[in-house]
Symmetry: C2
């Protein structure tokens, strides 16, 4: 999420290549430790042991466990944004973009379960960074939905809230399917899940008149 | 959630009226304390102070903070189930039930923000009780969706996953709108939000053919 602007760092970011490598090692170990044990139970000494650095080194790069969690949320936002942009680049229309995006998101959760859990838990550690994360995603969604609506690919809104409501609904759909099929049931083939979900995103629950049943 | 069966209690539940009143006072104070400060920061001594009981009294009723959190999740399940059943009793069909249920859920979140937050945070404290909470809701949803499908009120499934996928999508929609409009934006009138959401639940994103545009 290139437009996300984290609060100013109290500590200077080490600019050397070696510093950046150490920082990434710590972030990576923190992601696993917080993702597996939860924020409260996660220990800085386990993080530094897993990262292969001295415990004091942690505090050269981060002020606290909260600080490292915030960094992980921003990191996931950037990674996921990049991943979704690539996955939906060839989409032919909005419904195709939803299908490809949902598929890519579920893949991402399966490959990054710890990171996904860190982001979800962040709402109980620093609600501000969590809200920012989803508010930024909602903003991109609104832009995409407005453009699709203008092109006539999707139904016009019923009232001034429609685009915002749709954006949050689509995020909620992705997150709950990510939880159900990404985290808890990571073996089931994703194609039929995505097909069923795309059907509802495209047509809703009501029976589809024969003429529009193309997807 | 009457069918939920929490693990056997290690401590006997006090049966006296006075005991039950004390237990409820503790649960109520715990809900506020955990909801506001988060599980890790919540303190048993604040809970007992707010409940107006001695700190040792907490441990007559609950083994730990984890234990009280599990009780709150079960409590929210029961309350919400009851609330939704009442709210949707007069629904004329599935879409009407979704509209009334979503409206009732958003009202519930606005009136019980702390309880709602406790349930969401439980996934990072005791994933089992959180999964059970949503799995039970998904089960009720599947039963309702299958009945509606049989009556021809909603479109038949595309594959064997459809009912389960729809159930989790509808829960994700409710939870994300609950977060956005229940917790974070609790003043905006709910009617247009529910109207916009119901439109997408009924028809999806694609333009609606004129003949089926009745709701």
């Amino acid at each position: 999420m290139s437009s996300m602007n984290p609060r100013k760092r109290a500590l200077p970011l080490p600019k050397t290549g070696r510093g950046e490598i150490t920082r990434r090692k710590i972030l990576d170990a923190a992601k696993r430790e917080i993702g597996r044990r939860g924020f409260a139970e996660a220990s800085v000494s386990t993080i530094t042991t897993e990262a292969g650095v001295a415990q004091g080194t942690f505090y050269i790069y981060f002020r606290s466990k909260e600080d490292v969690m915030r960094e992980l949320v921003l990191h996931m936002g950037r990674m996921l944004r990049h991943h979704l942009t690539e996955a939906t680049a060839a989409a032919t229309d909005r419904i195709d973009a939803e299908r490809l995006g949902l598929r890519a998101f579920l893949d991402f959760v399966r490959r990054n379960p710890d990171l996904y859990k860190v982001v979800e838990e962040s709402q109980f550690v620093d609600e501000k960074v969590y809200r920012q994360y989803y508010t930024e995603f909602a903003k991109s969604y609104r832009i995409a939905l407005a453009a699709s609506e203008k092109r006539g690919e999707i139904a016009p809104g019923r009232n001034g809230h429609t685009i915002e409501v749709r954006a949050w609904m689509l995020m909620g759909i992705a997150v709950f399917l990510g939880q159900r099929y990404g985290l808890w049931d990571p073996k089931v083939p994703l194609d039929p899940i995505v097909e069923a979900a795309t059907g509802m995103i495209a047509h809703g629950l009501l029976p589809v008149p024969a003429a529009t049943k193309s997807r």
